[in-house]
Symmetry: C2
Subunit: 333 residues, 2 copies
């Protein structure tokens, strides 16, 4: 559990895209984002108040979150100065970088001296059980994709936000580093040891109120040969009541796998649903979420209408249209 709220460290991000983790935190958990910390030459701006460490501390920030990708695979000397100063100021540090904070002896030493925590969200920080398959109370929704990186996290966050707006009981359950930094907790599923994957998902989505929805962040795809095992563990460990099918219609082949075609939405439905029903016989496919960022407004609307007619399910792009109709579909089951 990462202490909130955060000061978002943008460092010397060359552009806005490099700060997308910080952007995600600001978009989805604005209450966690007290301010931004930018170094000389920073090309990103979240529109938050620029703060130094002392100001942020006074404003209540508890953790400095590295919300930017680093360059060249090292934590630079310039970053180091800020990170050390933050620890000395009493901030915890949280990072999703491949370079681990815990592999930097100076950060470890200063953190220990100051009594502050270093959170590397790429690595599990709990011991997970073997899954037992016992039915849990409460409801769970899982987004599954025709491919990786088609908008599963966005869909889950948007549905969670919509439910909260409506006063419904809802949690976003993060399974990747960006999601974990956004919410302050979760399971970095791709780094969990094979035997414990499904158990980690059970652990992440425990018994809850009957009218509470967990929106479980999806990973990979059943059709992506590199990561399908992780997806399978989400489907069985998550024992979802509802599946949302996610798709990006302009993708020419599976991400990183030239020669592998994307499955149709029908094939995804017919593959994922029977597998989900092994863990939860009541599971239903309730909607389709399409990432139409590479289509014009007109093309997007035509595509969504065609999918909706073909599949007999609400089909929306939550970025363009919000997740209201997907939440309606969940509320109806």
């Amino acid at each position: 559990m990462i202490k909130t709220p955060y000061l978002l460290f943008l460092g010397d991000a060359p552009d806005q895209l490099a700060a997308k983790v910080a952007q995600g935190i600001k978009d989805w958990r604005p209450q966690n984002a007290v301010g931004q910390y930018r170094m000389e030459g920073c090309g990103a701006d979240l529109g938050l108040r620029d703060m130094d460490l002392v100001e942020a501390k006074a404003a209540g920030a508890k953790t400095l979150v590295i919300g930017v990708a680093n360059r060249g695979g090292v934590i630079s000397k310039e970053w180091k100065k800020v990170l050390v100063a933050a620890l000395e100021e009493g901030f915890d540090l949280a990072s999703g970088l491949h370079n681990l904070l815990r592999d930097e002896p100076d950060l470890v030493a200063v953190a220990e001296a100051c009594g502050c925590a270093l959170h590397d969200v790429r690595l599990p920080d709990a011991k997970y059980p073997i899954a037992n398959g016992v039915k849990r109370t409460g409801k769970r929704c899982l987004a599954v994709g025709t491919d990786c990186s088609v908008g599963k996290m966005y869909t889950a966050l948007a549905m969670d936000a919509e439910m909260k707006t409506r006063g419904m009981k809802s949690s976003f359950r993060a399974t990747g580093q960006t999601g974990i930094l956004i919410t302050g907790n979760g399971v970095p599923l791709d780094a969990v040891v094979a035997d414990f994957m499904a158990g980690a998902v059970e652990w992440l989505t425990p018994d809850n109120d009957d009218d509470h929805w967990d929106h479980i962040e999806g990973q990979g795809s059943l059709f992506h040969v590199s990561y399908s095992g992780v997806t399978m563990a989400l489907i069985h460990g998550g024992q979802p009541d509802a599946l949302i099918l996610c798709h990006e219609p302009t993708r020419e082949h599976m991400r990183g796998l030239p020669g592998f075609a994307l499955p149709s939405l029908e094939k995804l439905r017919d593959t994922a649903l029977p597998l989900a029903q092994v863990a939860n016989p009541e599971c239903e496919v309730v909607g389709v979420s399409v990432n139409t960022q590479h289509l014009s407004e007109e093309e997007a609307n035509a595509y969504l209408a065609e999918v909706e007619a073909r599949m007999g399910l609400p089909a929306v792009d939550p970025f363009r249209q919000g997740a209201g109709r997907l939440v309606d579909a969940l509320a109806a089951i």
Copy 2:
């Protein structure tokens, strides 16, 4: 890679069943089993020559393999004496115990002083890649089960042995600790980090001669919610050309999961084959392997005949009947 041949350590095994790892080595790789080492009170006997360390060394043994389960979750003082003496005699040690050899400071120190290796086959000893899905040369066969522990390893070992007897090119590819100790190498797939599971299977079953068969040891089941992710990674990383369906007909529920019924063989076929064809569109289901140990000879024959007629596939118990008809089916594709 564990150096062969072995001296098989049976310790103070209370009975034959406790020495089943050693039994597996002796059954499937008799050329690797130079002799057995038994302590006072040992209730197991593999029918191998009893040897002390000096005799075994003289007979060419290079590794002392712990072929017995330990009791109480600790490596006892009595075992320790033998293990230390073996290292001093120049043996490597290999173990599939939950208690790791590398966690015993005395063994580590002696091994280092003697220049000997400690092999804990429960843990990966290589850095595996992310799977890339590229089609590999050679043929691969994977056994998939309606449940865990229905005879997938036995089936693969029996098919490998039958092919070798016929002079065909064949390898057994171990994915669990018993299999790794039997063959001296492999991947302990349940201990691999999620992102690298499918890549580890690709690594284990590389390009080979066009007429060479890899018999990949199966793990878990697509229908076992605790371990299905591991099975999925085997199906996609292994890119099998042939699937063998494995079943144990007297099982009342999924292993360790009361309330979860086993799927039918038809359901296993219809689930596993389309998933396998994502990685290898040419994949076929070629046969059924049934573990009939809890049936009489007559019941077993009746059951196998019924399955064979129903499924239109050769259905055999390789323990009772050998794997000849399964190999015939592979040779025909």
